[in-house]
Structure formats: C-alpha cells, structure tokens
Amino acid sequence: MADTGFVQKEKLNDFLNELSKDAVVYAPCLEGDTVIFKAFDSGTTLCLDRPANNPPKLVVFPQSETLFSFKYKKDAEDPRKMSVELEANTDFPRAIIFGARPCDAKGFRIYDSVYIDTNTPDPYYKGRREKTMIATLCCSAPSPGCFCVAVGGGPAHREGSDVLITQLEKGYFIEPVTEKGRAILNVPRIEDGEQYAEEAHKRQLESHDLVRNPFAEDGQPKISRALFDLDEFWEHVVSKCLSCGACTYLCPTCYCFNITDEQALNNGERIRSWDGCMFSHFTLEGSGHNPRPTKFKRFKNRVGHKFLYYPEKYNGVIACCGCGRCIRHCPVSVDISEIVSYLRGPRFEFTNEPPESMGTDTNSQEQKQ
C-alpha cells in the first residue's frame, strides 16, 4: 500500500461522499459568508479557502451533550415509593473531521491531557475522540490575527492530526500521521500521492515564515509574574473587553463546561454544555459571592490558564494554539497575543507604543473628510 495519497481537486466532493459512508464527516462549510464546521452532505458547500469561524472542537466536545438521562419510576402500588434509573451513553458513532487546520488539531492535544491522560478520564470526550479521525489541511497562508508559530505550532504542524492534507494546484496531497489516519488511504477515489510528496513538503515549509510571531526576540511567550499579579495591568489592558464568550467558545483549546439538570415530569437529563471563564456566572456561588467578580480577574485567569497554569501542569505546553480566532472574532479586537507580549515585563509601561505588528503610522490611515 502506498504511504501517501492524492485526491484530484474535482474529485474532492466524491471523496468526501466516500468518507461519509461509514462515518459522519464534519467539514468547513459555507453558510452565507460564514464558514462553519458541520456534517457534510450533498446540500453543503465546502469551503477550504480560509479557516472556519468556529473550530471543529464541537465534534468531540459538543456545545451541549447528555451526560446521562434519569428516569423517576413510581411504584405502581405505592406512590410514596420512587426510584431513579440512570442511563449514560458513551458509545459514539465514527466521525471524521475533514479540513481542520493544524492549530485546530493541536487544540485536541491540549484537551487530551486534561480529558484522557488522567486517572479519571472523561468517557464522553474519550469515546468520541477515539472514534474520530482528524484530517488536517495545512495552511497556505496565515489568516488575520493568527500566530501559531509563536506557541509551538505551525501551518503544517502535525500534532493532533491523524492525516495531513496539503493543497496543491491539482488537488490534495494526503499523508497519514497516525495509524488511525492510515485508513484514509483505503478510501476509494484516492490515488497514490508519491509523485506529489516533494511539492507538498515544499509547500508546507513555505508558509511557515509568513506567520507573525508577536513574541519578538526568541519567539517564546514569557510572563513576568510580578506584572501578571498586578491588578492595574489587567484593568488597563482589558478595559475594552465586553466579557462575552466569543473568544472561549471559538477557541480550539478552551475546554471549560457547565453541568445542569433539566427535567420534564418523570424524565430528565444531566447536560454538559460549553461554559466560559469570561462569564461572571461561571464562578458565581450560590451565596452571591464571586471569587472572580470582574472582567479583569476573569481575563487574568484566562490568560493565566493558557500561558501559566496549564504549562505548569503539563510540561510547559501552552494551552493556546495561536489560531487567532479570539482576536479575529472579538467584537472589540482584544488581542491576547498583544497582552501576552506586554506580560514580558518586568515593568509594564502604560505608555508603551503598540508592538510592531500594529500600525504605528496612524496618520496615513486618515479619512480625508
């Protein structure tokens, strides 16, 4: 069997239809002007030109899912007696994420440490993750805001992917990264990719240098703990934050969730749903006390979690994949990479000029009215 494969451009839809035969294929699809990951079928319009607005994390970690259902059973003879039955399903259908970006795929690795490599693995995540093959499309050019190379990734980074796909003139070069990924070579409509390997690998390298690295110098985020612990710093850099959940919900690595019960008469479910650390209610206690009452404290925790706490726990790995979605889609353009670059410290100058990536010559942008 060949080691790599190739799918002609015009055969891509057919190829995806083949893939759909024994798995649900999630692919970036166009809805209006929005690209979203959703189940691919004949009615959807594939869009591989740019990263999807949302990451494919929903495939393995749905926006909401049932942890278990419960049923109150009344004794037929004695209404005073009521028992509960619980039922949990951790058996999931096969799925394929087609057209994730390397940052998206890397996001799953951030999840894995928390959800799988622990003494209490999460059966839902794990169940879906094991049943999901991730076929990643290398980025040919960066999108506004992205900075994967600054957090250990890159436009052709393989971590987290089962298959790497490189878009070439005539079609898609497909190389398995994991054992699971090798299965893709057996799908009909795929041809041997060997003749395209060289061009593809060249392509993969090319785009790397186009990606910005906001962390200048050595290109690694560094955090001054003194500055990090300074409330005024956060008050200054996040005053414009609206405290919404766009950044966390679009983040391929944000994995926080909420658990709530819903019940209708005798039946109900315990539901897990996405939650975000930028929401006030996230940490709000029943008594009304809130340990993170302000958006400053919440933002500090979010940055801290990604760049301090997670690395502290998991061998220095940064819990940010640099996809740039939180920057691109932030309603007020809060830029986490900028904030982290400020955090180099040791002393934060409030009058700091913006980092180089930002326009300094604002006069040239004048609207001549």
């Binding site: 109150y72 009344k74 209404p79 005073r80 009521m82 209708a264 008469l265 005798n266 009304g288």
Partner: protein
C-alpha cells in the same frame, strides 16, 4: 417533596363528566406526588379533615386540591392546610369543575383535561415557596364618599361605633336624592321628615367630620393606610362666618340661576342655600350666574351679609387626610331626557321627569307643593306617567331595570289624586315590579283606591296638541292603540351611574361594570365588598336600589369597616413583588411601570442602586415582573418559575 392531591367529586358535578378515579391514578404517577385520593365533597368539614389527616399521616409538605374554581374555595383550603401546620402558600387548586366538568361533554376528553390541570397544579406547587405576611398598623378612620342616605347611614353607624368618620359630599348639602323626595313609598311618610334628623345627626356627631361641596382628588395607599386628597371647592362664602340667615339669597339680583337641587324646575339665585333643611345650612355662590363673576361687578351679597362672610377671591383648597377604609356611596344619576326623542326629548315643558315632579309635589319645593304644570302654571287634570323611560331599553344601552320607578310612579299617582282630587292619572308600564314588603299592596291601592289607570304597553310618541300633550301608545293587554290627552306627562327616567363614576373607580382601584356601576366582590356573598381590600360599597353606586336597600347597604358597609377595624394590626398579603438584589441591575424600569408607585430605588452599602418594593403598597399585579428584563423582581406566588412550571407541564409532554 411530598405532594398530596385531593380530587373532588363535587357530588356529581365533577364526577359526572370526569373519571376522578382515573385522574387520581394518573396523578399518583407524577414525581413528587406521594398521595392522591378522591373525595365526595372536599370542601366539606370531613373533606377538610381528610386533608389535615393526610398531611399528618403522609408527612405531606404541599397540597393540591382539584375541585372547583380557586375563586370559590382557595381561601378555604389555604386555611385547612395552615391548620395542619403547612404554610398556606404550599397549596394550589386545579379547577376541574367550572373549567372542565361543567363545560366539556366528552368524559374521556374531560378526564384527560383534568389530569393535565392537576399536573399543572402539581408542577406549580412544587415551585411554591412559603410566604409570610407581615402585620402593619391600621389607621382607624373611615372615609365615606357621598352623603346620600346610604353614605349618611354608613357614616352614622361607623361613628356610633366609635370610629372617626370623614364624610365627603360633592354638593353643598348632604341628603342626596332622598332629600329631594316628597314622600316615600309605601308608607307615604314625608321624606325629609325622616331624613332630616339623620342629617342633623351627621352634622352634630362629634366623630363625623363633614366635607360638603368637596371632591376626592386622589387616593393613595392601601387598606389600613390610605392618603386622601380632598378638594374643598370654593363656595366664595366663608362658612365659618355664614349663619345661613338667607339675606344674601333674598337680595341677590341674579335670579335666573340653574337650581341643581330642584333639577331646574324653577330658577334660583346665584347665591343660595339649596333647601331649607340643608346641612350644612350655608350659602354658596354659583360663579356661572353671579354677576360679580360674570360681569365683574355687583357685590350685593357682600354688602348685605351681616357676618361679612362673602369672599369673591376664595380658591379651592386641597386637604390631605389619612384613613384606613373607604365606603363609596356616590349614588346615581338619571338619564338625560334628551336621550328620549320619542318623548319629546326635553322640548316640551310639560313633559317632566319623576324627580322634577317630586320637587313639584314637595311643600318646600319651588311650587310650594301645588301641582302646576311648568308651561302655564295651571293645575293639571290628566297626568300620564311613563314607566321605563329609558330603562330596559337595549337600543339606548340600558338593558337593566331601574328598580324603583314602578313604586314611585304609583306613589306620585296617589299623591296627584290627593292634591288634585278631580284628576285622572294614567300609567304606561311594561311590567309592574313591586317585590318589596308592602309594595304590591301599594300599587294595587293606586289602581283600586285611587283609580289610577294602568295601561300595559310602551309609549311610542308624545307630542303637543294645543295645550295638551298627546301620549300615544299600545295597550298590549287589549291589543289596541291608545291615545291619552294629558295635561302633564311624567317620565320615570332610567337610573344611570354618575358621569364620573369611572374616574372615581380608577382612583379607588375598584372595577365597574359596562354601565358604570361598581362591581361588588361577589353578587351574593360579598355584596358590599370590592375586590380592593378596604374599599366598600353602599347604595345605588353599585346598582339602582331604593331607600331601604341603600340604608341596609350603608349599615352593612359600616359593619364591614367595624370588623376590619376590630384588629389593631392587619396582615399584609405576602403575594407581592420581591427583589433579588443580587440580580437587580438597577435599571428601575419596574419603578416606571408600577401602577401603585410601590417600588422605589434603594442604594446598597456597596453603592449599587437596586429596586425596593414597599410591601404594603404593592397590590400584586406583577407588571413589574414582566417588565424586569433580568427576572430580578418576582411577584411571589406567581414567579416566572412558577408560571414556567405550568407552561412546561402543558407543553413539554
């Protein structure tokens, strides 16, 4: 949670068309329900005992009774569960009688509907929270609005019971309609002779404070604590100086003023005392006719007044009073004769109304009791009375009976014969309504002893012919057309509500019916209460009624106030709005929409501004709850979660 459900057969009222056993069986399957049973009459004493027993034995913490309308028995059962140790708000009712068994014909569908109604009640009761009333002090003063016979009776009864009474009368004297009557049926005794002493009592009672020629501007507050703004209208006579001597009235050069008291039978002076027995007996100027006001010069009364009481510069004065209860006895009006074009619509001077005829009959009236017709002051020999002039006439929007016209027409016919022995009276009537004690005998006497000719039929037209009025009508008993040549026609005009009854109701927060009459709490069992606690009704403002009925209601309302005031403290209804200060964002939209100004802003210690409900002022409408975007202000017992539980019980199944 341990909910107990009691499903009432209501004899056959419910069980006849609802399979109550099936309802109980299905109810037992609901989570939280540990007990469900059926009972023949749950509201009966043993039925209530059954509930109490089950609360004890089954350790119930919430109760649902599925029976009749909560408007009927909610309070009954709340007391029952309270006696068994539960908070009275851990109770809900499912109405499966008025809303199910009585209106649905299919037993299967009815049963299903009843099951769902119970399910809704169970889901709601599970969301119920215990609520506790707080008690507050009562201001033991009572306001009586309207000084007619009902209002005076109420005021006197209250005052005799030791309560302080404010009696507000909008005209210059108390007495109302009864003071205008000549005699009363069926005893033919002199109206003012029996009313006069009462009027004097009102004036002299040291517990009664009379505000004559005054109106209610504003009513704020709630049962036990009302703030009233009373407008004392300008009389242009300083009543502290006026002795009621009448000199001003004699000398007043403006002799063509409209006489409100006499319903315009004859003119009066611009400064006048309405009638000899007026209480207070004080003069007042009618600025619409007074030359000093109309022309800017005159000043005769000021000159002649021996006590220098005249004050042309007098302004209305607004006084604030505080009371704990209000009796509304604002009386009635009569339909404007112009609305009856077939009877001449006011164009013919010799077609007059019953009340005008009362004044003509009255010895202290404008004609000193001599019956003369308005056009030529000649004594009429043929008098035609037309009953139901406007009453029971859907075409002009008065479908109801005016209650007392039949009786006063009989009385007036009798009196006519007394005054003018050679006269003949005719009465056109639709039905003779005389159900009171001695009433029917009275109408028979009119016919049998006084020879009054009763013609059953409607009058179709009245028109003049020479100096006579032709009254054309049908005699439905004989089946013929009748024409009577009359010297004088008296219309028993329909009783209607006061033109400002609606405004008054809005000030009082009480409801009124299509015709402007105030609505009692229950037509049979709570005839003088309104749905606003602390406000009671007496007299014809609630619907047309005669003197004995009005007096009865006056006394009844007074006794209700006495009962209310028998305690020093009142319990507030805890089903009022409550603010969750953690959720309140201080937008204060609730403050803007509250119909009762029961919400104000409050600053917390941390500087946050939140809404704050004045519990005793809140009436529990819930407008604030549906206004509040963040669900921070919740009407207790009808919270979002309670209503959502009901919605879900219907929809999510």
């Amino acid at each position: 949670m341990r909910v107990g459900v009691f499903i009432c057969h209501c004899g056959n009222n419910i069980a006849g068309t609802v399979d109550v056993a099936k309802v109980a069986e299905e109810t037992r399957k609901l989570p939280g329900v540990v007990y469900a049973t059926t009972y023949m009459y749950t509201c009966s004493e043993p039925g209530q005992e059954e509930i109490k027993k089950a609360i004890k034995n089954e350790n119930l913490d919430r109760v649902v009774v599925s029976a009749c309308s909560p408007r009927m028995h909610e309070l009954t059962f709340r007391r029952t569960v309270e006696k068994a140790g539960l908070n009275r708000y851990f109770f809900e009712m499912a109405n499966i009688r008025e809303h199910v068994s009585w209106i649905g014909e299919n037993k299967e569908l009815n049963t299903n509907k009843a099951i769902e109604a119970v399910r809704m009640a169970v889901e709601k009761v599970k969301q119920n929270k215990p609520l506790y009333s707080s008690s507050f002090k009562i201001n033991k003063r009572v306001l009586v609005i309207g000084g007619g016979v009902a209002g005076m009776q109420a005021a006197l009864d209250c005052a005799d019971g030791g309560l302080e009474v404010l009696l507000v009368e909008k005209s210059p004297s108390v007495g109302g309609m009864m003071a205008r009557l000549d005699k009363t049926f069926p005893t033919i005794d002199c109206s003012i002779c029996i009313l006069g002493p009462k009027m004097v009592d009102v004036a002299q009672h040291d517990k009664i404070k009379l505000y004559a020629y005054s109106e209610i501007d504003e009513i704020k507050g709630y049962v036990g604590n009302y703030q009233i703004k009373i407008r004392k209208k300008a009389t242009y006579v300083d009543w502290t100086k006026c002795t009621g001597c009448g000199t001003c009235m004699e000398k007043c050069p403006s002799k063509n003023s409209y006489d409100h008291f006499n319903f315009g039978v004859a003119p009066t002076r611009a400064i006048n005392i309405p009638f000899p027995q007026a209480i207070p007996k004080k003069a007042k100027i009618d600025p619409d006719y007074c030359r000093q006001f109309v022309k800017g010069k005159c000043g005769v009364c000021a000159k002649v007044c021996p006590t220098k009481a005249i004050d042309y510069e007098m302004q209305d004065e607004v006084i604030t009073e505080e009371v704990g209860a209000i009796i509304v006895s604002t009386g009635y009006s009569l339909i404007d004769i112009e609305r009856l074009p077939e009877y001449g619509g006011g164009r013919y001077p010799d077609v007059i109304t019953g009340i005008q005829y009362e004044r003509i009959l009255n010895a202290s009236g404008p004609t000193s009791g001599h019956i003369v017709r308005p056009s030529d002051h000649v004594e009429p020999k043929t008098v035609v009375f037309v009953a139901c002039a406007g009453s029971r006439d859907k075409s002009i929007g008065i479908p109801y009976c005016s209650n007392f016209c039949c009786m006063y027409i009989a009385k007036q016919a009798i009196l006519t014969k007394d005054h003018v022995p050679d006269s003949q009276s005719y009465v056109f009537y639709m039905d003779i309504r005389s159900p009171g004690k001695g009433y029917d005998e009275f109408t028979r006497r009119a016919q049998e002893e006084y020879g009054v000719k009763y013609i059953r039929g409607r009058v179709s037209r009245i028109y003049p012919k020479g100096n006579k009025m032709i009254v054309k009508g049908a005699d439905t008993l004989l089946g013929t057309q009748v024409e009577v040549e009359a010297d004088l026609v008296v219309l028993g005009t329909a009783v209607i509500s006061n033109s400002d009854a609606g405004h008054m109701a809005e000030k009082l927060h009480i409801s009124y019916d299509t015709f402007g009459f105030y609505v009692e709490s229950h037509p049979k069992l709570r005839p003088v209460e309104t749905n606003t606690s602390g406000v009671f009704l007496a007299g014809a403002c609630q619907g047309p009624k005669d003197i004995p009925a009005s007096v009865c209601q006056g006394s009844a309302a007074a006794s209700k106030v006495q009962a209310l005031f028998s305690k020093d403290m009142l319990e507030s209804d805890p089903a009022v709005a409550k603010v969750n200060i953690n959720a309140c964002v201080g937008c204060l939209k609730c403050v803007k929409t509250c119909p009762f100004q029961a919400i104000k802003e409050k600053e917390l210690r941390d500087g946050r501004v939140v809404a704050d409900v004045i519990e005793t002022v809140c009436a529990g409408c819930g407008v604030c709850t549906s206004t509040c975007p963040c669900g921070a202000i919740q009407l207790q017992h009808f919270t979002d979660n309670q209503l959502l539980a009901e919605v879900n019980a219907i929809c999510l199944t």
